[in-house]
Structures are given as structure tokens and as C-alpha cells.
């Protein structure tokens, strides 16, 4: 056996079938040196308590399922090493979302926000397949590439002080995604999205706390996207004053 070490996991439990309010439950887990937080949760599920509910799938930091609050910070549990924590590790569901059960939160609200920014290529005239791929220079790709890296893990919503106060706020990931499409040289939908971004509870609601970018496990930098989107929305609006028809196109 490799040096067996034990850690105590204090896990938030909530089953709407029987609980009024969430409670915590402690588990002692023999951990391996190379384990991530998710490995310990899977150990609990498989060997100690099969009633624990949590989401996970890829265990390689790309499907975005396993976001949770670990010792008070939003983390991708399949990516953070247990070795960076002490003998006691607290695991709770992501804040700023309704809890379905235990560590599982409700995402439907986010899915609506996500759709709201029109995350697809908008063109006045769609290109025929026979015409082949569009050209896009490596520099044009660089413009939006990092904003397209979001895995929808929701850590940024859990960290965002604005979402905490105004659950309706469009939020970092959705704004970054809309902005990603507006920056894409193949897209002509920036005007439409700028109109969305000028609406209530969108880019201007952001207080630029930058928490979202700090917790992002994929370095998407949503805070930068929100800031850029703000600027674009304003410039577009100002241009609309001069050339009223363009903004409405």
C-alpha cells in the first residue's frame, strides 16, 4: 500500500424528500497521494455511503460537471489535488444556485441565460456548403479563441457577487459566450447581441469584481469579456445615434 493517509470530509447533504434544511455529514476517507477531491467523493459513494449524490463524468476537467464549493471556494473537483488541503475538507454545493440534492444544483436558469445571448453564428446570408470553409486568419481566430474555452462549469456564477444579489443577472459565462460569437470574423450578429447587452441585468450590471476570472479553471477571463462587451455595446449605441439605422439592422 502506498502511504495511507486519512482525511475527514465534511459534506453538505440535502434531500428534499426528507430534509427541511441542508445538514452536514462527516466521512473518514483513506486517501491516495495523487487523488483529486472528486476521487474522495467517489470513494464515499462507492464504499461508505451510496446515497450521496454528486455529478461527474469526464474526470479530466473538460465536461464541466463537477463544480463544487471546496473549503469555501468554487472548484472543479476533478482538477484540484487533495494534497493542497489539510486533514479536514469541506465540500458543499455551488452557491448562487438552487440546490436539487446534496451537491447537485439546478442549471435550468443558466441554460436560459445561455440561449438568451444567441450563441451561434448569425449571418445575413448563410454560406452554402459547396462554397467551402470560410477563411479566418490565425490572428482573427486569436481574437475570440480563449472566450470559446468555457466548459460551463458554473464556478464563475458561484463566485460572482452580482449574481448573489441579482439572480437574474446574465452572468459571466453567458456574456463571454455571446461576446465570443460577436468577435468571430465569421459572425454578423454583434448588433443583435449588443442590443441584448444593453438590456437590464446584463453587462452594465457587472461591478467588475473580477472574481469570475479568478476562479475560472480554464483561463477564459470572463471579466475581460464583460468589460469588452460593455464598451462595444456603448460604441454601437453611440454609432446608432449618428447612423440610427445601422444599430437596428
Amino acid at each position: 500500500m502506498s502511504d495511507v493517509q486519512k482525511k475527514t470530509f465534511v459534506v453538505t447533504r440535502f434531500d428534499p424528500d426528507r430534509d427541511q434544511v441542508p445538514k452536514t455529514q462527516s466521512y473518514e476517507v483513506p486517501v491516495e497521494p495523487d487523488w483529486k477531491v472528486l476521487d474522495a467523493l467517489n470513494f464515499i459513494k462507492d464504499h461508505i455511503d451510496p446515497t450521496l449524490s454528486h455529478r461527474w463524468s469526464c474526470r479530466m476537467a473538460v465536461c464541466g460537471s463537477c463544480g463544487m464549493l471546496v473549503n469555501g471556494e468554487p472548484k472543479l473537483t476533478c482538477k484540484v489535488a487533495l494534497s493542497s488541503y489539510g486533514d479536514t475538507v469541506e465540500v458543499a454545493p455551488l452557491p448562487n444556485f438552487p440546490v436539487i440534492r446534496d451537491l447537485v444544483v439546478e442549471l435550468d436558469g443558466f441554460m436560459e441565460k445561455f440561449e438568451h445571448v444567441k450563441p451561434w453564428i448569425i449571418r445575413a446570408k448563410e454560406r452554402a456548403v459547396e462554397d467551402g470553409p470560410m477563411r479566418q486568419s490565425p490572428e482573427e481566430l486569436e481574437e475570440f479563441k480563449h472566450f470559446s474555452m468555457c466548459i460551463n462549469c458554473m464556478l464563475c456564477y458561484a463566485a460572482c457577487p452580482v449574481v448573489a444579489n441579482e439572480p437574474e443577472f446574465l452572468g459571466p459565462a453567458a456574456i463571454a459566450l455571446g461576446h465570443r460569437y460577436s468577435l468571430d470574423s465569421r459572425d454578423e450578429g454583434a448588433g443583435e447581441r449588443n442590443r441584448i447587452f444593453r438590456g437590464e441585468g446584463t453587462v452594465f450590471a457587472c461591478s467588475y469584481a473580477n472574481e469570475c476570472s479568478e476562479v475560472c479553471p480554464k483561463n477564459v477571463d470572463p471579466a475581460a469579456a464583460v468589460n469588452q462587451a460593455k464598451l462595444k455595446a456603448v460604441i454601437d449605441w453611440a454609432a446608432g445615434l449618428v447612423l440610427p439605422r445601422r444599430a437596428e439592422e
Binding site: 445561455f114 451561434w120 490565425p138
Partner: protein, 573 residues
Amino acid sequence: MTEVLRHDVVIVGGGAAGLRAAIAAVEADPGISVALVSKVYPMRSHTVSAEGGAAAVARDDDSFEMHGYDTVKGSDFLGDQDVIQYFVEQAPPELTRLEHWGCPWSRNADGTVATRAFGGMTTKRTWYAADKVGFHMLHTLFQHSMRFDRIVRYDEQFVTKLLVEDGAVRGVAALDIRQGEVRAILGRAVILATGGAGKCFPFTTNGNIKTGDGMALAYREGVALKDMEFVQYHPTGLPGTGILITEATRGEGGRLFNARGERFLETKPEYGVGSKLELGPRDMISRAIFQEIRAGNGIQGTFGEYVHLDLTHLGRELLEKRLPFVLELARTYAGVDPVTQPIPIRPVVHYMMGGVDTDIDGATELAGLYAVGECAAHSMNGANRLGSNSLTECLVFGARAGRHAVGHAKDSGDGSEDPLRRQVEEEAARIDGLRGRAKGSEKLTQVRDEMTQAMESGCGVYREQASMRSATETLAQLRRRCADVALEDRSRVFNTEIVAALELVNMIDVAETVAVAALQRRESRGAHACSEFPGRNDREFLHHSLVYYEPAGPRFDKKDVALGRWEPEERKY
């Protein structure tokens, strides 16, 4: 009262194949309504993890003939050549569509789409978006699908049964994971797009959700599973976790070394990869690594022996630009930095060549039932899939099946709802009976571990008659023991224990077909390497294998391979 929802076409699965089918269906007829049912939110589907790329002829030095021949040869001549011909012709338009929908393909300096080398491909024809191709394809498809109101999503709904009446499929029974209810989702055509079954094995690149559900659903309704013995081992997985280090690393120039620092694919011609070296096909390279380890040339580590994948000569700049995800994965999950250190790797279960038996339209022998993506076998991969063909396959055949399903749905009537409602009520009662079924003497995790161990020892890289036979026996016993598993979670809300129990039954069904088909194939072809029968035997075994479900135990049958264009020849590189 059981809730009954109605659509024209029901698609089970929100990965690349399911999403492409859904888009094709609503584009074929804007009046059509599609249910997209998935046990996870579509963007969590395991397509997301694909790293290396998607193949389609793009360059002037390439041709359909070459892509076709590479694929046929890669399949060890078990691929159906009409299907492969259609595939290579449709591949470029499908990847172009994805480009139009916003996929951030990596680019050449002139703005054209960049391509990279991949195993078993004679030229650079693998389109890529750095090394996160599946992620970008999946998100592009998912986001594009949101344009269509007629694609109605049912997220986190687990399909437990196909509803069949009068010889035709009429919909599915789905467990709402969040609420615990079982509902009927009816449609005049059903497309299975549920992905692979790597979780039947202990060491795999596959995520937790790849449990062969769709294969098992079809199998239990009398549809054959085809070519199940062919399980692809990817040569380069991280020891311990099985996390994939993409073949694109070798496409970009990565090399394999044993403990003696020997580049064994070069020094030992008997491995059969010829001048392709690290860009040989996966079955051959996995066997070579396995033999190196057997011969004592492996490097000892915490998780058994491994060999080295060396990228250090490629330089930081190239690695950061083309393989950033590999850097992240190796640093996070293996504790090595590929810029300066070799990556420990060993072969790992990756992909199922076999699946639900379909024709070129994705249609099965059950009227109205289609299958696409990794859960299907249209027979384009035969005995060994070439890397980067399967993402494209999801698009090409997803689109075709989507259109055909619409055609079928328009030509069929709704029929009566009552017998279907009754089926769903029975299914709901069955699942209620499972929930928190405390009595039972078996543990779920124990049965699951025994299944994966049986598969590893019976159906690994090299297979022996005795171990395959004992795997089939173990699996038959495990199937019985599965009925006696105790379940503790009584909650209706997000009960993942019950989902795991249902998945386990599916995996055991699928695993059994793998072992049964493997035992029948007394030759070595593609990924099936049988120690007692080391050569390929076209005279007796140039056929697909079919396994049918029978209450008494699986029944074996065979089916001809569509040849005609490329004659079977010795597979030498």
C-alpha cells in the same frame, strides 16, 4: 397517471451524433418536432473529451480513394466498403458545415483550415482545433442546435426502455433523474446516439457515463449487436486514471521509448508498423507496447509498468500552440511537464468498433429504430477504427439517420397510445421496486468490479480461448447476481444509485456480447488478437459477427462484409 409526451422523432443522446441528427431532422422538415433526450446536459456528453481531430479530405495531395483505402486497410478489411465510400465523400461537407456554424478550427497562415497527421492516414487530413476538438465540436453543435425551437431538450432523463408495439419502435420510457418519475416520450422514429461502453473495462479513457446503454436497449428488443469483439485500445493513456494523451502528440512528432531508451517501433520491425513508426494504427502500437512491457522493457510505476511518450524535442512553442490540453493534462494528472519530461503512458480501452447493427442509413432491423455514433456499427470501422474517423462518422451518419428518421416518421401512423402507456406503467413500477431495494445480498460496486476484471482478463489486448471462455461464464453469473444487488438510496430526487444500477445491467449485457463474439472469432484481425490463432483467416472469418439476445443466453450469428472496391490483402505498413 403516467405522463405521455409526443414528438415525431425521439433522439436518445446529446453528443456529436445525437445533436447532428437533431439538426438534420429539423432542417429536413421544419414542421418536425424532435425530442432530444440525454442523461446528462448535452455539453457534458463524452464527445467533449475528444482531443486530436476529425478526418476529411482537404488537401490537394489527398483524395477520397486514399481516405477510403486507409480506412478499409485500417479496418483490417472488415469495414463495409459502400459505407466507407459514402463516409469519405460526405466528410468534407460535414466538417465544412461545422465551420460555418462557428467551430474554431485551427488555421494555416492563409486562413484555410489546418490539418495534421494521424495514425494510419497516408497524409495530413485530420482537421483540428488545437487539441480540444471534441470539446469545440460538441459546443458548436449544441449552441447551433439552440437556434431551433423544434428541438425540445429533455436533459438529465435516463432512457430505460424502448417502447415497441406491433413490430415497430414507438418511443422510449425515460426516468427523470431530477424528479424520479418515469415518462413516455413517444415518437414514430427513435434514434439511439448513446455513445460507447468503455466503462465495461477497469482502465479506460471513457467518462463515467459511457455505459453502453443504447446498445443494451436495442439488444434487449431483439436487435443484433455487431462486431462487438473489436475493442480499441488506445496506445497512450496515463497510468492510473486512463486519461487520454491524444494521438495528435504523435501526429506532431512525438516518439515512444522503452525503459532502455530504445525507440522500439523503429528498432523492432516485427511490430509491423513499417516506416509509419509512431503513426502506425492503434491496434499494432498497443500490441507493441504490451509486448515491450511483457519482455521486461517497461518502466515500473505506482500503477504498473509503462513506456515513455517523448515530446520534449518539439519545443515549448509548438506544444503550447498545438497541444495545450496535453500540457494541462500531463501536468495535472501525471505530475510531469511534457516540455522537459517524457510522459508515462500505457494502452487503455478507448473505443467500441462494434455496436447496434445498422445499414448505411443508420436503420436497424426493428422498424423505426436508428442508431448512430459510437453506439452504432454501420460497419465503417470494421476490426479497427482509424483515429479521427469517429468524430466525422458521428456527423456523416448522424445527419443521414436524422433525415431518414424524418422520412420514416412521416410515413408512419401514431397508432394507439394505450399499450404504450401500459408498458411505461410497468416500467415505472419496476423502477419504483428497485429504488432503495434494501434486500439483496450483493453490492453494486462489487459486481461492477468483478465485471470489469472479467473483461480485462478475458478481452484485453491479447486474448486466450480459456480466459475468454471464463469471462463469458463469469458474466453470465454476474447477470444473475445483479438481480440481487441491494440498493440503499430511497430518495426519488437525483438518485444516482439507481442510475448506476440500471447502467450496470446494461454494461453486463454489452460485456457479454463482447466476450461471446470474441470467443467465436478464432483468428486475429484488427483489435482482436487471439493468442492461439495469431493470423488473419479470411477463408473462415471474413464476416461480421452478430450477437442476439435470447432469454437463455446470447445467440451468435454472422453477416457478410460489403467488399467490391478494395480487395483484402495482407495488412502491412
